[in-house]
Symmetry: C2
Subunit: 437 residues, 2 copies
């Protein structure tokens, strides 16, 4: 049974996180509220840093897209991580957080020239080249800035991994990267090494998300190693770095069972080491980009219950709809990915018999579901607080103002204290964008 | 073949809308850009007003959730419509737009007490009661405000309509409303009429979205009429209003074929009239709530093309990924609902042979697709502008800052002039919420 709650969560009369009672959080900051257990996030960042460094990584980067806020980027860099950014917006937050350029990686299938220029000006460690056109764009921008920009090539290996499964094809029908199978990846290497404003450091592969074991990485690494061997043999270029991306999964439900961080790191390190040895390739430096696995489990969303409505279903059974004061605007993942979450009554203890519930939001849409199926105490009622676990990643970062609902605050809790990371939006913030009637 | 473009769209050397060249729009306001054809939106609002008034409606309300901005609410009210709002945020925009309380309807499955109080203070024409608990909440708030608040009961009829199909069940497994089948809707009427601070005006039914014919409305109206008859016979209460909601569909693709506005209005009016006559019920006033059908077709999103990448598929065919400078942050509907859109090269004419493309965004996610399958000229290239049709509804309203991408501006075009409705967000706006490192 996986523990889906942050390490600082304690269940007494009410849920507390890092020593802060959730009822006090709701009273001080309002609901809905995103709460991050700072020590939990730091512990996971440190664990990834240590495990993957031990496995041969020279850089473990936090994927800022999971949750982008200066405090979070400061935590993870203090624990040893770099930061990978995909846009000018994420880059701006990273720079504001004081992340130095050499700890930054710029991603993206369609970086604007302005984003490329900003990244070069910031001295980012690597720009990950995603297309032939981008080779020229980055080379031109580097030449204008009179620098030699280190780059990686994003390659598509045909491996797509998810949870305990992976699929392996010759081609990948998606927007990212340059295909290994078609020869485009090798051709990109040929072009890059001819350009004096670029320095080709290595290859980048990303195989998916919510990955629970190492077999997908093994299959992808095999193709990356084979490609690097061909590039060495045919072009005489030794590649110093393999960035194997992110996608390490987390538990959203108690029966989710992701591989231990240290185990997966060791397995991947061993796999690549063996494959390189077999290929007669010097072991490259490795790099990894976990995002969700650092910040996801540290986050909890607190909601206040409004309406509780038992609905009789076709078969005569009853499903109780528990409406909360947020919904698809603060967590689109349930509707978008059919994601599953764990929910619990947080503001009091209850011995009432559990009932089947669906936790829904307040948006004007029947698909506005937060937790599709869960059990909550049968006396759940208006004014109760419920907590949804593992909402640190891809909830605030994908939040909208649907139904003109302002986005919740994000607070950090640590050693009995709470502090705001992203303040709550207000209706005035929304109206400020509106030019008027 | 449906025309998916706004009525003011003209295709010459480049796409112009209401006499404004899209290249000038991109140059002045940047891309991505949401563009609304004001005359088109007004024409559709007027058409709905006239057709549904002729069919027996005393109120046709624009559903603000589709796109909520003061200018839009002003346009539609000037053309005769009321406004339905689902949150305090939408209510605030409506009041700022000068919509008078009597033209407003408040919806929502989980209205907060603050929202109920604000609606009562604004003198909204109707609050739509969605649960037993809400009867008490609204009655209490009205009593505190010393007013008698007119209300409707949101009933679930078991009819769910979509496009040319509808399903009919005894129960509805969703969060909205009070069930007709279980007797909850009748029980709600019993409770409401006993409360002196509430006035029960009628029933509200909403059966779905993207509805292309009147048969779903017919099936739902039958159950609403039967319910009203029972309430009259058993409780002696004559209900003066049936609000049949919205959901009238629009064309996203050329072969979509929604029913003409006037035809559907006339059919629904006839159906309800006949059903009431059969039941010996006085014909109630009708009300309707179109949202998408007013503002959806008036909107176009302009994007600039960045990367163009041909990808060889497993079967040897080629799909060209055309990356634009926006994506799932400004249009989540493709990823969320598997929605389909029409896209065209907008900034120039091309005689190049069309190729199969997928228009994708710039977000760090493989599901970041704007248009899944489309044909564009084979010479599509970086710097081109493409236009996506029918993005007026549920695009800006559901937009996020995923990857910390600021949301695009929304501009209105009318008689050769462009004006900002919602200004473009900036990275500074996003950082303003961030409490710092």
């Amino acid at each position: 049974m996986a523990d889906v709650w942050p390490t600082g969560a304690a269940w007494g009369e009410a849920l507390s996180i890092a020593g802060v009672d959730c009822r006090d959080l709701a009273a001080e900051f309002g609901t809905p509220l995103y709460v991050l257990d700072e020590a939990d996030a730091r512990m996971r960042a440190r664990a990834f840093y240590e495990a993957y460094t031990a496995a041969g990584a020279h850089l473990v980067s936090y994927a800022a897209k999971a949750l982008c806020a200066t405090a979070v980027l400061r935590w993870v860099t203090e624990e040893g991580l770099g930061v990978d950014v995909a846009t000018g917006g994420e880059l701006a937050v990273a720079l504001r957080a004081g992340v130095t350029g050499d700890r930054l990686t710029l991603h993206g299938n369609n970086k604007s020239v302005a984003e490329i220029e900003a990244a070069i000006a910031a001295g980012v460690g690597h720009i990950v080249i995603d297309s032939f056109e981008e080779i020229v764009r980055v080379a031109d921008a580097a030449r204008r800035a009179v620098v030699v920009q280190p780059v990686l090539i994003r390659v598509t290996t045909g491996i797509e991994a998810h949870t305990h499964e992976f699929i392996s094809t010759a081609h990948e029908d998606q927007k990212f990267g340059l295909s290994v199978a078609s020869g485009d990846a090798e051709e990109a290497a040929r072009r890059i090494v001819k350009l004096p404003s670029l320095r080709l450091d290595g290859l980048h592969s990303h195989i998916g998300s919510q990955i629970f074991d190492a077999r997908g990485f093994e299959a992808a690494a095999q193709r990356v190693v084979a490609l690097a061997t061909r590039i060495r043999d045919e072009q005489g270029v030794e590649l110093a770095e393999f960035n194997l991306g992110g996608g390490m999964g987390i538990a959203y439900l108690a029966d989710d069972d992701p591989l231990d961080v240290t185990d997966m790191a060791a397995q991947i390190g061993d796999i690549v080491g063996k494959q390189c040895a077999d290929a007669g390739l010097a072991m490259p430096q490795l790099a990894f980009e976990p995002g969700r696995a650092i910040i996801g489990p540290a986050g909890v969303t607190l909601y206040e219950v409004g309406t509780v409505k038992p609905v009789t279903l076709e078969d005569g059974s009853v499903r109780t709809y528990v409406s909360v004061d947020g919904g698809m605007s603060d967590n689109i993942r349930t509707a978008l990915y059919d994601a599953h979450y764990t929910v619990a009554l947080a503001s009091r203890e209850s011995k009432a018999e559990p009932i089947l519930v669906r936790v829904v939001g307040k948006h004007c849409e029947s698909g506005d579901i937060v937790v599709r199926d869960a059990m909550l105490p049968g006396d759940i009622t208006a004014g109760d607080l419920v907590a949804v676990a593992a909402t640190g990643a891809y909830c605030r970062s994908m939040a909208s103002n649907y139904n003109w609902v302002p986005r919740p605050a994000l607070v950090a809790v640590s050693e009995g204290q709470a502090s705001i990371i992203l303040r709550r939006e207000t209706i005035e913030d929304l109206l400020e964008l509106d030019a008027g009637a």
